[in-house]
């Protein structure tokens, strides 16, 4: 019996990995209807994990989990969002300051005694120990060396796993593994099937766009005039959404580029991202408007076709990490090709994701738009 379960689990894991990996390359993919009915909620779990289990984390380490973890420390809000979506947010006993300082997370976690472990880039080992966790989740390919040092200081009873959860190539597999660790396989599969099918839908449609009609886009990162070059997550989003990055030839993820060169390369669309605006907490979209106005009033930018044709957009990446990455992808796709992707309702997807995280009535909390100006309807 146990063997069969293990076989089933392994096979589905491999399948998911394959789907996630090749999703971007499917060309003859038949789009799935987007408005899928939600899977029936059943009281009894179909999958029950029998501990101990051994999983391979994204840093390639074998980790044996002896029993279901009850006290977890996370190092970023991305990890916290996935835990919330798996329905185990309340097991968080320690988190980095980005989680602690976010009122929405704190409301969702419904408790105030979560230990602040400091910045995600330099978490304090002592603070982690003081939270008395049985599992700590770190990034796998971001500040790995810092986390290795912290992990070495933790007592052996504290298990450590490395998961990125922000890279599309490994994200779904990682969610599945988290489902195994926390005995939430049903929930994990539900999450994966929902967001990976949406992902493949967008990418499948985007791959059908002719190379000649691909929209040339300037994607500006968080800092001023920092182009999202190859190696950055936004370059990947832009490419998957069927756009062409006007700075795709630059061998750097976030170089500061000359405003003259944007005029010269004359993009059809300009997209700027910010993390400093929270539609669920802030009072108005003024911050997004300010950024928008700053961009369009840069000297000489009126002659750029994106500015002349009113195709400049600013959006906030708040809560759009983890599976929310798929929403960013859909949003960019819709901004580039409003006609092709007119069946996608971004606001609905965002509300859906906030609901996944456990926010009961997101439309009452998060009243402001993620994008300025509003998304073209197509």
């Amino acid at each position: 019996m146990l063997k069969m379960k293990l076989v089933a689990i392994t096979v589905s894991m491999v399948l998911i990995a394959i789907i996630a990996y090749f999703a971007g390359y499917y060309t003859s993919y038949i789009p799935m209807p987007v408005s899928m009915p939600r899977p029936q909620q059943i009281g009894i779990s179909k999958f029950k994990v029998v501990y101990p289990i051994t999983i391979v984390d994204s840093a390639g380490r074998n980790v044996t989990i002896e029993k279901e973890p009850q006290r977890v420390v996370v190092v970023s809000s991305t990890h916290e969002m996935v835990l919330l979506a798996l329905g185990i947010g309340n097991r968080t006993v320690g988190a980095s300051d980005t989680v602690i300082q976010d009122p929405i997370f704190m409301a969702l976690l419904q408790k105030r005694d979560i230990v602040n472990i400091g910045k995600f880039s330099s978490p304090s080992a002592e603070a982690i120990i003081s939270a008395n966790p049985d599992l700590v989740i770190f990034y796998a390919s971001f500040y790995k060396r810092v986390y290795d040092e912290v992990a070495a200081k933790l007592p052996p009873t504290v298990k450590v796993v490395y998961f990125d959860l922000y890279k599309i190539s490994t994200m779904f597999e990682e969610i599945y593994k988290l489902g195994l660790i926390f005995n939430k396989v049903d929930k994990a599969l539900e999450l994966i099937s929902k967001w990976s099918s949406r992902f493949t839908y967008i990418v499948g449609k985007a791959t059908e766009i002719m190379p000649s009609s691909r929209v040339r886009t300037f994607f500006e990162g968080y800092t001023e005039l920092a182009a999202a070059g190859p190696g950055s997550g936004w370059h990947q989003i832009l490419t998957l959404a069927g756009g062409t990055n006007i700075f795709g030839d630059i061998p750097q993820p976030y170089p500061k580029i000359s405003p003259e060169s944007v005029i010269e390369r004359n993009p059809d669309v300009i997209i700027k991202v910010t993390a400093a605006f929270n539609p669920c907490v802030d009072n108005s979209t003024k911050p997004l408007e300010n950024l928008y106005n700053t961009i369009i009033s840069r000297p000489g930018w009126k002659s750029i076709s994106a500015v002349a044709n009113n195709r400049v957009y600013v959006y906030t990446t708040k809560y759009l990490d983890g599976p929310g990455y798929v929403i960013q992808l859909a949003l960019v796709a819709k901004l580039l090709y409003p006609n092709i992707f007119k069946d996608i309702n971004i606001d609905q997807w965002i509300l859906d994701w906030l609901k996944d995280m456990g926010l009961a009535e997101p439309e009452k909390v998060c009243k402001l738009s993620w994008v300025y100006p509003s998304i073209p309807s197509g």
């Binding site: 800092t223 170089p255 000359s258 060169s261 010269e264 993390a275 950024l291 000489g300 002659s303």
Partner: protein
């Protein structure tokens, strides 16, 4: 040091200085002609001859008049101001490695900017998005300048207490710089990821921030600098012979050091509040000037103006075009230039002659 042995109007020196100032013209033209946007030289010339172009919507016109000319003027003035401030501070401290940055001005400016970019955002006094708008940038500039100004007053008070000796100027400056760097470390540690990036961009010094609105401030600073050259050149010559000789020539070393330190700090503060700290120009330019023209401040200071302008403009051209369309911060280029300059100077030292004032 033979100051009075050479007449003021030495033909050779005048010729040297005027040719250096003439060299500014081709360098400026180069700076206006080259950039990320490929403009034919003929278009550049056409735009230059037409300050009120018939059709301002033409891209070439915008590129030349709104990107390259303000930036070039900014580089010229910033270079000149920093170079003279460096020469002045080196004169009053009789220390070839001193500069306004030794007085802690750049640390003060960095701390002031950090207060806004990091602490202002952290304490939710300002939305972070706001800092990327022109008004937001103005606040950073004002904060940097205010802290610099307070710092100048503080350091002058410290010097007033301990007497205006060359050693006390350097020591007080270094002590204060350590204090700011402690504050900066503290700020950086608590900064969020994106504010930290924003801040690091700021402290690297960048001439992109110069636009027409800011050029008036820079021009005013340049005028003060020229006034300082006119006022202090002779007195600094007297001071270079030692405090006792200066006194016998009717120059009060304490008063002179006070005035020069105040003026040099303020001009530097104004400039780097706008551009961010640009290292090495204020040490390197006076040294090159000294190699060319000698130590007589009546010649040294004007030469520093020309050398500083040319150095910074060339550094900026390199920063803009070396990796285009990527823009390097100009501070990175001046740092590299400065380091190689000092290594070559060190290797060519003969009996300590080169580094003497």
């Amino acid at each position: 040091m033979k100051i009075n042995a050479t007449p003021f109007f030495s033909f050779k020196r005048i010729l040297l200085i005027s040719s250096l100032f003439l060299a500014i013209i081709p360098v400026s033209f180069l700076s206006i002609a080259i950039g990320a946007y490929n403009l034919p030289i003929s278009d550049v010339v056409k735009c230059l001859l037409n300050p009120h172009g018939e059709n301002p919507a033409i891209i070439a016109y915008t590129i030349v008049w709104f990107y390259r000319i303000p930036r070039t003027i900014g580089a010229l003035i910033t270079g000149a101001v920093l170079a003279v401030a460096g020469a002045l501070i080196q004169g009053i401290t009789r220390n070839p490695l001193a500069s306004p940055f030794t007085l802690g001005v750049s640390s003060a400016a960095s701390f002031g900017a950090g207060l806004v970019i990091i602490a202002g955002v952290k304490l939710a006094l300002l939305p972070q998005v706001f800092l990327q708008t022109p008004e937001g940038y103005m606040i950073i500039t004002l904060a940097a300048f205010t802290i610099c100004f307070l710092h100048t007053l503080l350091i002058l008070t410290l010097l007033f207490i301990k007497g205006f000796s060359p050693e006390s100027i350097v020591l007080a400056g270094i002590a204060m710089a350590y204090m700011y760097s402690a504050g900066i470390t503290f700020l950086e540690y608590f900064a969020g990821e994106s504010s930290l990036k924003e801040y690091i961009f700021w402290i690297m010094g960048d001439l992109t921030r110069v636009n027409w609105g800011k050029i008036y401030f820079l021009l005013a600073t340049l005028l003060i600098t020229i006034l300082a050259v006119y006022l202090f050149a002779w007195d600094l010559n007297a001071l270079s012979l030692g405090d006792d000789v200066a006194k016998s020539l009717g120059v009060d070393p304490r008063k002179l050091r006070f005035k020069v330190a105040f003026m040099a700090s303020l001009t530097t503060a104004t400039v780097i509040s706008i551009t961010g700290p640009i290292p090495f120009i204020c040490i390197m330019a006076p040294h090159i000037a000294r190699l060319i023209i000698g130590s007589d401040n009546r010649y040294l200071l004007p030469t520093s103006i020309a050398i500083g302008s040319i150095l910074l403009t060339i550094s900026d051209i390199i920063a803009r075009t070396a990796l285009k369309p990527i823009e390097l911060p100009v501070g990175a280029v001046t740092n590299a230039l400065g380091a190689s300059f000092f290594i070559s100077m060190y290797m060519s030292i003969k009996k300590g002659k080169v580094m003497s004032i």
